[in-house]
Structures are given as structure tokens and as C-alpha cells.
């Protein structure tokens, strides 16, 4: 997987600005992810976490600033470009289509096709079946490749979104609020999955506003506040309680210390 020099970070964002019309959502963001590192991106609602993610994944281009992936500068910003580089995303909205079958959802936007763009329906079904049993850990017979997303629970939907990201073997997996709206046992599954990414030698950005969930699995914490990076801490330098304390202080006073 290390097809770039180890001294170069996997992902490097330099002086990123993003504005939507008059509103500056992100200002002067410098952000790095190294190999086999789990980063927790934390911050309040509206801090700009989701926008930062959408820039990494190519949904939005940055207004200014440079992005390097494996040392290579990204000049063309699109979802398919980011994906082909090896960035997969599990979106907060999950990016599923409710009335479509799982086998269509898993391969949405990058269908397995034969000549003239016709679908390899059999292969898509078989791969989806595999994914459901192995990676998503669904044992319930009620869920199969033909199930519509709308018949799944929140945790199951998250399982599909995560399983999909895993299927395409990315080097960097981004999880945007993956535990939101999930039960405790479902949350545990998601955290196991993040640990799994780490064990496989890959990197992840885990976005959450719940420190208690991200602390055990993350290596480094990046705190985003009103479009700026307010602070960065390695896990060995800060305890969970100190981190929570800093976040509370930031919300109240606008400063970490």
C-alpha cells in the first residue's frame, strides 16, 4: 500500500479555504493524515467538519489551497477522482437510495459492467451477498441482496455504507458521524470496524462530536472550531477527561486554554 515515500503524509491539505457565497466555512486549514493513523476530527455542529470532508472526497472543490494525496497534488476535484486515488467515504447521510436494492446501492456510481455499459447483475448480486455476510455481519435472513434500503434499521444502513467503503479497498476511509442515531451495540460494531481499519494498516478520519466514542480508537485529535483548526493533540499527550474539558471550554469561551 505504501506506494509513496514514507516521509510524505498520506493526505496533506495546505491552507485550505472554502466559502459558499459570502459565508467563509473553512479558513486556512492545514491538515495531515499519515499512514496507518486514525484521526478523530471533532468539533461542534457547524464547525465545518462535513465541508472539510466533502472537499477531501471531491464533492466540493476548495475555494483556495492545495491538497496532496500520497505526495501527488490533486488538481481535478471530483468524487470519482478521489475514489480512484483510494479515498472512500461513509457519509453522515449514508448516501443510500431508499427504494433501491442493496446490490444497486453497493455499486452506485461504479457499477460492474460488461460491453456497452450493461450491468453484470449476477456479479453485483454475488459480491453484495458476500459483503452482507462477511463485512456487514448481517446474520438476519430478512436482509438479502434484493432488500430495499428503506426496510433496514439505522444500524443496518450504516453497515451497508461501511461495507461498501470497505469493499473498494481504500487507503483512507472517512467516516462522517458514523455513530449518529445508533444503539449502543450498533455503535460498538462501528468502533470495531474502525479498529479493523487500523489493524489492516490503513488510515481513517473519524468525525464525531462525541469524544467518548472516538477517544478509544483514535491516534490523534484535531479540533475544528468555526472553520479553523483550534488545536491538535496526540493521544499520548492528553487524557480523555482533559480533552472533554478543553472542548467544553472551547464551546464556552472560544479558546482551548
Amino acid at each position: 500500500m505504501a506506494d509513496h515515500s514514507p516521509s510524505v503524509p498520506l493526505l496533506s491539505m495546505q491552507n485550505i479555504h472554502k466559502s459558499f457565497g459570502e459565508v467563509d466555512v473553512l479558513q486556512a486549514i492545514d491538515f495531515n493524515v499519515t499512514d496507518n493513523e486514525i484521526i478523530a476530527l471533532v468539533g461542534d455542529n457547524g464547525a465545518g467538519k462535513s465541508t472539510l470532508i466533502k472537499i477531501i472526497t471531491g464533492v466540493h472543490p476548495p475555494t483556495s489551497g492545495d491538497i496532496f494525496f500520497k505526495g501527488q497534488k490533486i488538481t481535478k476535484h471530483s468524487v470519482s477522482r478521489s475514489r480512484s486515488l483510494g479515498i472512500e467515504t461513509v457519509y453522515q447521510e449514508r448516501a443510500l437510495a431508499d427504494q433501491q436494492t442493496l446490490w444497486r446501492n453497493v455499486f452506485a456510481g461504479r457499477e460492474l459492467t460488461r460491453k456497452f455499459g450493461f450491468l453484470k447483475v449476477k456479479e453485483q448480486r454475488a459480491e453484495t451477498q458476500n459483503l452482507i455476510r462477511k463485512h456487514m455481519g448481517f446474520t438476519s435472513k430478512a436482509i438479502n441482496t434484493e432488500s430495499m434500503v428503506l426496510s433496514l434499521s439505522g444500524g443496518e444502513k450504516q453497515g451497508v455504507a461501511i461495507g461498501r467503503a470497505l469493499y473498494f479497498e481504500a487507503d483512507l476511509i472517512i467516516l462522517d458521524e458514523p455513530t449518529m442515531g445508533l444503539s449502543l451495540s450498533e455503535t460498538k460494531k462501528v468502533l470495531d470496524f474502525v479498529q479493523n481499519i487500523k489493524d489492516q494498516g490503513k488510515s481513517a478520519i473519524f468525525i464525531s462530536h462525541n469524544i467518548y466514542y472516538v477517544y478509544p480508537v483514535a491516534d490523534r485529535f484535531v479540533i475544528l472550531d468555526r472553520g479553523r483548526i483550534a488545536g491538535e493533540f496526540c493521544k499520548k499527550d492528553i487524557s480523555q477527561d482533559e480533552l472533554v474539558e478543553k472542548m467544553v471550554r472551547l464551546a464556552r469561551t472560544g479558546s482551548l486554554n
Binding site: 443510500l96 433501491q100 450493461f118 430478512a142
Partner: protein
């Protein structure tokens, strides 16, 4: 537990049952007419004109969009078809330009909807008047006789009678029905139509080019309106400036009684095909069983109300 496949099968079984019911009524009501080939011959020659547009419209509706301008696109492209044929005598050239006009009209719709951001229902009300207005201004109320086209090769493959009994347009509708089914259910582009119609934001996040999908779908609608225009103009070998006007509601009715959801994300080509047959047989059937023409709209309405109620109930029982 309900799968998408089961849901779709239920819709398709329902519409087939409606078709069987309607035909049973016709056969009981007038066995003499409905057990002979003549009436079916007549259906095969008239249904494809709007049936083909209904197939194309199914993609538009599956996308969660609407197009009201296609009867005007039909008229405009066919007017140009007639003008070029009269001026040059070259039927193939006329056909190519006719298709180009249809596609261009679809592209104008797509531009207003995708780039300018007007809801498709509103945008195509505008273009419906605009394109019809262009026809009126150019044609100045006059029709174009196309008798000279009769007997040409193009005429034969469009509306000739195969073996003297099967109207070629019926074969076109059958072949296109199959092609549209494959496109929507077995092609990457169909998958994208379903995904965009279901959830635009998810599609964008999954890297589907939403704008491109919409543009192509509106352009194919224009193309098939032009094709239906050529067929219907050939059939009567005359172009009228009011051409296509009767097809607006029959086409949409065929799509909706077929079971395609107006909310997008779900469409059935089979349903539309059967829906077109139902809508296209009602008028003759109602007369044949001895009711007066005054009953036609009432029965149209009844069938639409019943079938869409069945679908609404099928969709409500989810889980």
C-alpha cells in the same frame, strides 16, 4: 420483509389484471368485435404513436421529473421534417434534421431545468407553449401534405404493413419496449436514473453526474417525440399544426396507470407498455360495447383512479 423485486412484481401483476379485466368486459360486451383481428389491427396502428412516447416518459418520471412539452416538440420536429422533405425531396435528410430538432428541444428543456434551475413541471409548461407557438408562426395555420412519402423505404419501415397485416409501428413499440426495459433494469445508465430519481444528494456523493443524467433523459424524450411525430405523420401522410395535442394526457395516463411512481426512483417499462394498451383500447372498446362517446372520459378517469389507488395501497403496506 419486502424487496424491490416483489414490490415491482405486485405493481406489474396489478396492471396486467386491470388489462385482463378491461378486455374481459369488452369481450363479454361485444364478442363479435373483440374476437376478430380487425380491432387489434387498429389498436396496433394507433397505440404506438403515444405508446413510444410513454416509454420515453417513463424514464423522465422515474427521474422524479415531468415533461409537458413533448406534444409540442413532436409538432415542431415534424413540421421541420415536412418542410425539409417538401423543399429537398430527401426523406432521410428530413428525418435526421427532425431527430436533431427533437434532441435540441430536449436539450433546451434540460438547460432550463438543470442549469437555470426551474422545476421541470414549470419549465416544460413554458416550452410547451413556446414550441407550439413556433409551429404556429412557421406553419401559419397551414398543413403539409406528405403523400409523396408514401411507398418509400423509410415509410415502409416506419408505418408499413408487415405481411400486409401487422403495422410496422407496433413492431417498433415492441422493440423499443424491450430496449427501454433493458436500459432501465440492466444498464448502468438505468441504474443511475433510478438512483438520481430516488435520492439526488446520495447520487452526487456516490459520484453520479446528476446533471448529465437529467440532460440525457430530457434529450431522449425529445428524440422519441420526434420519432413518434414521424410515425404519426406518415400514417396519415399529412402534417397538421395541431399535431400531437391529443397525446399529452394519454401518454401521461399510460405511465401512471402503469405504476411508475410520480415521486421518482421507481419505474416500470412493462407497466407503461400495458398502460398504453389499456388507454389506447378504451375509446374503441367503450363504443364497441354500446356506450356512447360521452362515457369515454368518465371511464378513463375511473380506470386511472382505480389503478393508482391500488398502487398507493401497495406502497403504503411496506415493512
Amino acid at each position: 420483509m419486502k424487496t424491490a423485486g416483489i414490490r415491482q412484481a405486485r405493481l406489474e401483476i396489478s396492471i396486467t389484471a386491470v388489462l385482463a379485466g378491461v378486455y374481459l368486459l369488452f369481450i363479454i360486451g361485444n364478442p363479435k368485435v373483440f374476437t376478430r383481428f380487425d380491432i387489434y389491427y387498429s389498436f396496433m396502428s394507433t397505440i404506438p404513436f403515444f405508446g413510444i412516447m410513454a416509454l420515453a416518459m417513463t424514464l423522465v418520471v422515474t427521474l422524479g421529473e415531468m415533461d409537458l412539452s413533448f406534444p409540442s416538440v413532436l409538432a415542431l420536429s415534424t413540421l421541420i421534417f415536412g418542410k425539409i422533405f417538401i423543399a429537398t425531396g430527401n426523406l432521410w435528410l428530413a428525418m435526421v434534421v427532425c431527430f436533431m430538432v427533437g434532441i435540441a428541444a430536449g436539450a433546451i428543456n434540460a438547460f432550463l431545468i438543470v442549469r437555470v434551475g426551474i422545476p421541470s413541471l414549470v419549465a416544460t409548461i413554458g416550452t410547451m407553449f413556446f414550441f407550439r407557438g413556433m409551429v404556429n408562426v412557421i406553419a401559419q395555420g397551414k398543413g403539409i401534405p406528405l403523400v409523396k412519402a408514401k411507398g418509400t423505404f423509410l415509410y415502409s419501415i416506419c408505418v408499413g404493413r408487415i405481411g400486409g397485416v401487422i403495422p410496422a409501428q407496433a413492431i417498433w413499440m415492441l422493440v423499443l419496449g424491450l430496449a427501454f426495459w433493458l436500459l432501465l433494469n440492466r444498464h448502468k445508465f438505468g441504474s443511475h436514473i433510478l438512483f438520481v430519481g430516488d435520492n439526488k444528494e446520495s447520487s452526487r456523493m456516490m459520484g453520479i453526474n446528476v446533471e448529465r443524467v437529467k440532460t440525457i433523459v430530457f434529450m431522449q424524450m425529445g428524440f422519441f417525440a420526434a420519432f413518434a411525430g414521424i410515425l404519426s405523420t406518415f400514417e396519415v401522410t399529412y402534417f397538421w399544426p395541431s399535431q400531437g395535442q391529443g397525446y399529452l394526457l394519454t401518454t401521461l395516463a399510460a405511465v401512471f396507470i402503469g405504476g411508475t411512481s410520480v415521486f421518482g426512483g421507481m419505474g416500470t417499462i412493462f407497466g407503461t407498455f400495458v398502460g398504453a394498451i389499456i388507454i389506447g383500447s378504451l375509446e374503441a372498446g367503450i363504443i364497441a360495447i354500446g356506450l356512447t362517446g360521452f362515457w369515454i372520459q368518465l371511464i378513463y378517469g375511473l380506470i386511472i383512479m382505480v389503478s393508482v389507488s391500488i398502487y398507493a395501497m401497495l406502497l403504503k403496506k411496506r415493512g
